[in-house]
């Protein structure tokens, strides 16, 4: 290994390394899209098969918390975008503050989600744990809630990972910044926005079927 280089030997320059890292994140996001894609396909199969049940089930979801969470998450994405921008203009302290804000909003999202889950537990809407929904639509409603829990838990797991990554970066950037950390922040921001976009789809699929079009 050529000594004294700030970057690994497979790269020709620090810039080369950073661009490569970013491409890696895009490929990772492609993989993630297919991960959620399989789930969404299953959702549509059953929504097509049991349209009335999905409407009935969707009406039992908490649109207030759902909408609030959408606003929280979009705002956090905005803060992350601002943080990337701030670091590019070398406003390191501002960047760290913005990241802290994004982390706080991400945690708020998780907190609200937990309240939502607790309410659903009280309303006995958790398939396999405690589920009680009367009437002829019960089966389709149960299928809806299986998706609801798998999809939102998978999304929440992504949120937790994102919070961890942003937190680690904020701690590093508090000390100092370099091009490598700038790229890392850029990639982390891509990931955070992706998780945000997934939520926008989930929001429409989960909360809106019973409430749109009368």
């Amino acid at each position: 290994m050529p000594e004294g280089r700030a970057f690994a030997p497979q790269f020709a320059s620090a810039r080369h390394r950073d661009e490569t890292a970013e491409l890696g994140m895009w490929v990772f996001i492609a993989t993630e899209i297919l991960l959620f894609g399989g789930l969404v396909l299953g959702y549509f199969v059953y929504r097509h098969a049991y349209p009335d049940a999905f409407v009935a089930a969707s009406k039992r979801t908490d649109i207030l918390i759902g909408t609030a969470n959408t606003a929280v998450l979009l705002t956090s994405s905005f803060l992350v975008a601002c943080a990337v921008n701030a670091l590019q203009t070398n406003a390191r302290v501002v960047c760290v503050a913005l990241l802290a804000g994004a982390i706080a909003l991400g945690s708020l999202f998780i907190g609200l989600k937990a309240i939502e889950y607790a309410n659903e537990y009280r309303e006995r809407l958790i398939p396999g744990v405690d589920f009680a929904f009367g009437g002829s639509l019960a089966n389709g409603v149960q299928l809806f809630f299986v998706f609801y829990f798998v999809a939102t838990l998978l999304h929440a797991l992504h949120m937790l990972i994102g919070i961890g990554v942003l937190g680690a970066l904020a701690l590093l950037l508090r000390k100092s910044s370099n091009t490598r950390r700038r790229t890392a922040l850029h990639s982390a921001a891509l990931y955070w926005h992706f998780v945000d976009v997934v939520w926008i789809f989930l929001f429409a699929l989960i909360y809106l079927p019973g409430r749109s079009g009368g």
Binding site: M1, A8, P9, Q10, F11, A12, H16, E19, T20, L23, G24, V27, F28, A30, T31, E32, L34, L35, F36, G37, G38, L39, L41, G42, V45, Y46, A49, Y50, P127, G128, V129, F131, A138, N139, G140, Q142, L143, V146, F147, V150, L154
Partner: protein
């Protein structure tokens, strides 16, 4: 030999288990995969012994279910899918493109650890009692009825999937970003093209398997889920999702083999691969079409006739790029200066076996014939021709071809040729009778069968004995060469590829000076004799 290379630069355990050198990680994968190959092979051996007689004499029905499941799970996820990409690919890709490592060396090491973790979890499931669902984990049997270690095995496969994804991601980024100056896409060796196509499948198909297994696990854990027919769920949805991964996975298993064959055919006939661009794009075409044919595993599942027609048509379409490859390999041989060294024997064997496997695939793509052949030994024979006759043969061919580069040692050419020939004949004797058995209606996954099928089964089991011996042979002569083989020159085949321009074995960071590429990959001189060393 005082020069430092990647093998002798350090001997500590730490320098192996925490290495980020793609070459050492390839060796780690190679050792682990060899172990899994022989574990899966042991299961196959027991299966063939049981099937030598029509009665059940070795294992119970339940034991037999667990045996073929173990064979399938181990061979598919812990040998075939990672075989060429994670060993030869890991070792050769950076060398071939003139890079000092993969783009993400630590991710590469993580891939091995995930592989080992998934492997240990799966082995635990097997030795704790086994799984009886078949490698396909079909619902509702796997979720509601099976009393075996489904959850543990599914977790193992789930984990190893992430190893696949990380390797695929690493290859895609590496091939895009780390090519040597002058190495344009149209100068890339075809091995790289095929691994690129493979990586695209790894990255796009594997996550679908992951989420499907999550749904399966949730259903088995909680007793209610989306494949559960008791609440209106559709077990067939599982098959759709499973085959959306597992059919492309077939191409994960064959494309790298095709890539190896390009290198071998070209080298041992001293000619440029005929129709380079067609072969390169055929790999991508196979990868793309591979995503659109999963329904041909479900012709008898009750899917709509229209869906079956479309899937049948698309399956026939896959034959086009596959045939382009076979025709171009034979055209490459035409008027070449052919030498029958061991790697070439494997390559020629591959062409024959892959062609038989591919053509019988067309039988199965026919709606009418597939109804007859579904779940018979015809299907078993077909996919073994592709995966064992094709992929494993290519794996051995590539292993011999690059062995001098990987280890810095030469192997015994005589033994290697003997093994190659033995594998070819042993393979055909094992699996050709299974076409006949399948056509006559013997179903797969049964260990008791009518006496009139015994002749073909005995032939098959006899062939398996030869095949087993032939697969064990390289263990000995390659193992011997590792310690006592003659030192290999840098370029024993006088090949133009970049991987041959550095020493054997390569130094820790592959190239002392950054290579620059000015020509295509297959500019062979007619002269086979290696240039004299130390000239």
């Amino acid at each position: 030999m005082s020069e430092a290379d990647y093998l002798n630069c350090s001997y500590t355990l730490r320098s192996w288990f925490f290495t980020t050198d793609h070459k050492r990680i390839a060796i780690l994968f190679f050792a682990s995969l060899t172990a899994f190959f022989f574990i899966g092979g042991a299961a196959a051996t027991l299966i063939r012994i049981e099937l030598a007689t029509p009665q059940a004499d070795l294992v119970s029905s339940d034991g037999y279910n667990r045996l073929f499941t173990m064979h399938g799970v181990i061979m598919v996820w812990f040998f075939l899918i990672p075989s060429i990409p994670n060993t030869l690919g890991n070792f050769i890709v950076p060398l071939m493109i003139g890079a000092r490592d993969l783009a993400f060396p630590r991710l590469n090491l993580a891939s091995w650890y995930l592989f080992m973790l998934g492997g240990c979890v799966t082995l635990f499931a097997i030795f704790a009692g086994g799984i009886d669902t078949g490698w396909t984990f079909y619902t509702p049997f796997s979720t509601l009825y099976s009393n075996s270690y489904v959850l543990v095995a599914v977790s193992g496969v789930f984990i190893v999937g992430f190893s696949s994804i990380l390797t695929g991601l690493n290859f895609i980024v590496t091939i895009h970003r780390l090519r040597a100056p002058g190495l344009t896409w149209n100068r890339l060796p075809l091995f790289i093209w095929s691994l690129y196509a493979t990586s695209v499948i790894l990255v796009l198909a594997t996550p679908v398997l992951a989420v499907t297994l999550v749904l399966l696990a949730a259903e088995r854990l909680l007793g209610v889920g989306i494949f559960d027919p008791r609440i209106g769920g559709d077990p067939l949805l599982f098959q759709h999702l499973f085959w959306f991964y597992s059919h492309p996975a077939v191409y994960i298993m064959i494309l790298p083999g095709m890539g190896v064959i390009n290198e071998l055919i070209s080298c041992f006939s001293r000619k440029e691969v005929f129709g380079y661009k067609f072969v390169a794009w055929a790999s991508l075409a196979i990868a793309a079409l591979g995503f659109l044919v999963w329904g041909h595993h479900m012709f008898v599942s009750g899917q709509s006739l229209l869906a079956s027609l479309v899937f049948s048509f698309m399956s026939f379409m896959v034959a086009v790029p596959s045939a382009i490859k076979v025709f171009n390999w034979t055209a490459t041989l035409h008027k070449g200066s052919i030498r029958f060294d061991a790697p070439m024997l494997y390559a020629l064997g591959f062409i024959g076996l892959f062609t038989v496997g591919g053509l019988t695939g067309l039988f199965l793509a026919c709606l009418a014939y597939d109804v007859h052949a579904t779940d018979t030994y015809f299907v078993v024979a077909h996919f073994h021709y592709i995966m064992v006759g094709g992929m494993v043969t290519a794996y051995f061919g590539g292993l011999h071809y690059w062995w001098p580069k990987i280890t810095g040692r030469l192997y015994s050419e005589g033994w290697a040729r003997a093994a190659a020939i033995l594998i070819f004949f042993g393979f055909n004797l094992t699996f050709f009778p299974q076409f006949v058995l399948g056509a006559e209606g013997m179903p797969r996954r049964y260990h008791v069968y009518p006496p009139e099928f015994q002749v073909w089964n005995v032939l098959s089991s006899g062939g398996a004995t030869i095949l087993a011996a032939a697969y064990l042979l390289p263990l000995f002569y390659l193992g011997y060469s590792l310690f006592f083989g003659a030192r290999a020159p840098a370029n024993p085949w006088n090949a133009p590829g970049l991987e041959w321009q550095t020493t054997s074995p390569p130094p820790e960071f592959n190239f002392v000076t950054q290579p620059v590429v000015t020509r295509g990959p297959y500019q062979y001189s007619a002269d086979f004799e290696p240039e004299p060393q130390n000239a």
